[in-house]
């Protein structure tokens, strides 16, 4: 009797150097604060520092040598050495120079002049402590600090994470977030929308069923999502938001109010970015204080001149009302989009530190006609959801997140009009094909502009990328039929592929992202990243080779169980010997050896595969007519395994 075979689920082969079961963390990369959490057996735990602090301020200070300090220490430096500190970097993720017109002067950044060589796709850069850095690099420093915290607390290497993004983030901002994680040595298992992550944390905790709304007002972004929660399924019905509206804007409104008061006293003052940072911080303190107090007094100092500012809650609320009303209008629009009446909503979940503002709670309660829920810490609930999802992705789970595209995706047509290809609130993943043709005889190339947004005109939407289709066979005008496939994956990221239909030639699609990093830049940054960056890359390709080789062995093991009688004893011994060799290679560290062993195994078992196919066909036909078999196969759509 042959020895019993040990069969792993394909892909589930244990990874020797990871010290046991695979572990992935959940990260909420916030505008103001970030949080890292880990899932353990269906519940999640926020990873804290020695003082019990779960929040890591999303603030980075840069030393002269370029090394980064992240978190509370950096935040304290914000007052003393503002020129070396950068905060709220999330607001610049995926932003291009063209966006700066609307941002300039309102944010505490010193921005670098647009790059001379525009290879970086026009992404903005920030000057801090004498260094010129992209938002991706700065975010990577925050993510690295979170990863370090997780590794310290958990006492093991962490390479994989679920990272959350605002639901309303566009493709450029999502890509920038994923690139930042790659730079920080983290493999992003999934980008999850923040409100969806919060719903997951809530739904699992409360066993909620029915339609729920998640109102998520963070430091720099606002999202609202409507979800249908059913027995572990979290189906997003509609989502809306504003990727540049948040608590920062509240601080800004208060700071402007204070500065207007100073102006009345001292006349026009020139404010440098340091003074702006101080005023914003004072605005934030005043706002936070007035969530619990009725009034307060704050002082500002610019160029040695002091001013004192008294603010009462009704005054604060008057300052915040236009901003809060904007979120309420967006909520009403999302309800309308989903065709849902506020009365049908079973519960409203509040997420994000800015939902502590009493005016926000009051207006949300009025819109939905019920008191909102906030029993899970609104600062930590997103990271908890991310950690639960990270565990679900690595160890399996019954929960399922079904999300949608937040913004319509379209292309430019004649006259600068947008033709929508994938409307907003379409479930993802999604793919849509669009056919194009040439308008000149012998035309060999065409250019397609992809935009995201709800407006009719290209100029009012956000340009995502310019695609060049090349290598079209020369034909008369209108004869070529080029099918362009737009696919949005489960992370909400777009990919484009193209094919000429009449000749079947694949087109080359050259992508020039409008705001992201070019792949070359990414490679360079990865290379320049900390010296263990190279080691991270090696470990990743090693892990991938192991998963692939594990799949080959697992598949063949299943085949031997089903059809092993098709082999002679010698053949079987040869195959089993090579399977053992592959397992041995997987246990080792040599990626090339793993791949080579798996390839040898596949080659060795090819005759076996042919015999299995022959047997399958004989069994299928079995003297019967082909049509008869077809009918049987059609009526037999089962779901396995």
């Amino acid at each position: 009797m042959p020895p019993l075979l040990q069969i792993h689920e394909p892909g589930a082969t244990p990874e020797p150097d990871s010290g046991g079961a695979p572990l992935a963390i959940g990260i909420d990369l916030g505008t103001t604060n970030s949080v890292v959490a880990v899932g353990r057996g269906g519940s999640a735990e926020v990873l804290r520092d020695e003082d019990g602090m779960g929040l890591v301020p999303s603030v980075v200070a840069y030393a002269a040598d370029g090394s980064a300090i992240v978190g509370e220490l950096a935040r304290q430096l914000l007052l003393d050495r503002p020129e070396v500190v950068v905060s709220s970097i999330k607001r610049l993720m995926g932003r291009g120079s063209a966006d700066l017109k609307t941002l300039a002067g309102t944010l505490p950044y010193e921005l670098a002049a647009p790059a001379d060589t525009d290879t970086a796709g026009g992404m903005v850069r920030v000057v801090v402590g004498g260094h010129t850095l992209s938002p991706v690099e700065i975010s990577a420093d925050i993510l690295r600090a979170l990863r370090d915290r997780a590794e310290t607390v958990l006492g093991r290497r962490i390479e994989r994470a679920v990272v959350t993004v605002p639901a309303y983030f566009d493709d450029a901002a999502r890509t920038a977030t994923r690139d930042a994680a790659r730079l920080a040595g983290l493999d992003v298992l999934r980008l999850v929308n923040e409100p969806t992550a919060a719903a997951l944390a809530y739904g699992l905790d409360d066993g909620a069923e029915g339609i729920y709304a998640v109102y998520d007002l963070g430091g720099g972004t606002f999202d609202v999502s409507l979800l249908n929660m059913q027995k572990g399924v979290f189906q997003v019905l509609a989502t809306g938001g504003d990727a540049s509206l948040g608590g920062d804007d509240f601080d800004h409104a208060v700071a402007e109010h204070f500065l207007a008061g100073r102006k009345a006293k001292y006349g026009e003052e020139v404010l440098d970015s340091t003074a702006v940072k101080m005023a914003l911080m004072t605005g934030r303190i005043a706002k936070e204080c007035l969530s619990s107090q009725k009034w307060g007094e704050w002082s500002l100092e610019v160029d040695g001149r002091h001013s004192l500012h008294r603010l009462e809650r009704p005054e604060l609320e008057a300052l915040l009302t236009p901003l809060v009303e904007r979120t309420i209008d967006i909520c009403a629009g999302v309800l309308d989009d989903a065709g849902i009446d506020p009365a049908d909503v079973r519960g409203v979940v509040l997420v994000g530190g800015s939902t502590r503002v009493p005016l926000v709670r009051k207006r949300v309660a009025e819109l939905f006609g019920r008191e909102p829920l906030s029993d899970i810490n609104p600062d930590e609930v997103v990271a908890v959801g991310a950690a639960l999802q990270a565990e679900a992705l690595t160890r399996g789970s019954d929960t399922l997140l079904l999300d949608v595209t937040p913004l319509s995706l379209g292309i430019e047509t004649m006259g600068g009009i947008v033709e929508k290809i994938i409307p907003r609130n379409t479930p993802i993943p999604v793919a849509k094909a669009q056919e194009f043709t040439t308008y000149q005889d012998g035309q060999r190339a065409m250019s397609i502009q992809v935009v995201q947004g709800e407006r009719e005109l290209v100029a009012d939407c956000r340009s995502l990328a310019q695609f060049e289709l090349r290598g079209i066979p020369p034909m008369t005008a209108g004869a070529a039929r080029i099918q362009v496939m737009f696919a949005v994956d489960a992370d909400g990221l777009l990919t484009v592929s193209a094919r000429e239909q009449t000749t079947g030639t694949e087109q080359t699609v050259a992508v020039k992202p409008s705001y992201g990093l070019a792949e070359d830049d990414m490679a360079r940054m990865l290379y320049e990243a900390l010296e263990h960056g190279a080691r991270d890359m090696q470990l990743r390709v090693l892990a991938e080779a192991r998963v692939e080789a594990g799949r080959v062995v697992g598949a063949l093991a299943s085949a031997l169980v089903a059809d092993g009688d098709l082999l002679t004893d010698d053949e079987r011994r040869a195959i089993e010997g090579q399977m053992a060799a592959v397992r041995g290679a997987i246990a080792g560290e040599d990626r090339d050896a793993i791949t080579a062993a798996a390839e040898t195994l596949e080659a060795l078992s090819r005759p076996f595969a042919e015999r299995r196919m022959d047997r399958g066909i004989r069994a299928a036909l079995g003297g019967r007519d082909v049509r008869e078999f077809e009918g049987a196969a059609e009526g037999d759509r089962e779901i396995g395994p």
């Binding site: 394909p10 298992l189 059913q230 079904l402 489960a490 998963v547 598949a555 196919m613 082909v626």
Partner: protein, 224 residues
């Protein structure tokens, strides 16, 4: 031709056959992972459990639903969730790139089927597309119906003249009523296999939808 015959016809021959018939060997495909035989349209290899490509199938059979206009929303959700639980890319996050790509194709096909069948208008369009010449693109069922055109123009004028949100609401309520009548008419027409009536009602539903959308836009304009 009675309804059952029509449905029978709709159930066959409107889609490319999932397997080539010229050669018996093509009746089975080889699993990409274990190279063994797999039946067409199956989701997972019966030998090694690897996820298979989505393959050709109409939206109804992809979700395991009976072909027809009447689709219960709760049923549709249930079978859609059941399939996504097995095929969604989240289930394959730690698998090989090939398995992740296949799961993405499967989930994409499921979403396409779900979105089409969930919406009464898209569902009607799709059924017409299936039951008519397969070469007719979806949505290309133009009907030369003067009565419909006149009605559409009258309602459009009424909407343009509406001066208050209340007036728009009356028109919107009428459109909503008409939409309900239209979908119930579609259900009868498809059940009776009367494709001409179904086609006319589909066109009517299309313009009623547009009207309802325009009412919404107009109401927002007027309430600002």
């Amino acid at each position: 031709m009675d309804g059952s015959e029509r449905r029978e016809r709709m159930g066959h021959g409107f889609e490319p056959a999932p397997i080539a018939t010229a050669h018996g060997e093509a009746a089975l495909a080889a699993c990409w992972s274990c190279f063994g035989p797999v039946r067409p349209a199956i989701l997972f290899c019966q030998t090694c459990t690897a996820v298979q490509p989505p393959g050709q199938a109409d939206h109804f059979s992809r979700l395991g639903l009976d072909l027809g206009y009447d689709v219960d929303a709760a049923d549709l959700d249930r079978v859609y969730f059941q399939h996504q639980r097995q095929l969604h890319p989240d289930r394959f996050a730690t698998r090989t790139p090939r398995e992740r790509a296949l799961s993405q194709s499967q989930a994409t096909a499921l979403n396409e089927a779900y979105e089409t069948l969930k919406d009464p208008l898209r569902r009607a369009d799709y059924l017409l597309h299936l039951s008519r010449d397969a070469a007719t693109p979806e949505g290309c069922n133009l009907v030369n119906d003067m009565e419909l055109l006149t009605e559409a123009m009258e309602l459009r004028e009424a909407l343009a003249e509406a001066g208050s949100p209340a007036e728009v609401r009356v028109l919107a309520a009428r459109a909503a009523d008409d939409i309900r009548r239209c979908t119930s008419g579609l259900s009868d027409a498809f059940a009776a296999g009367d494709l001409d009536v179904a086609s006319r009602l589909t066109t009517r539903l299309k313009y009623l939808r547009k009207l309802a959308d325009d009412c919404r836009t107009r109401r927002l304009q007027l309430s600002v």
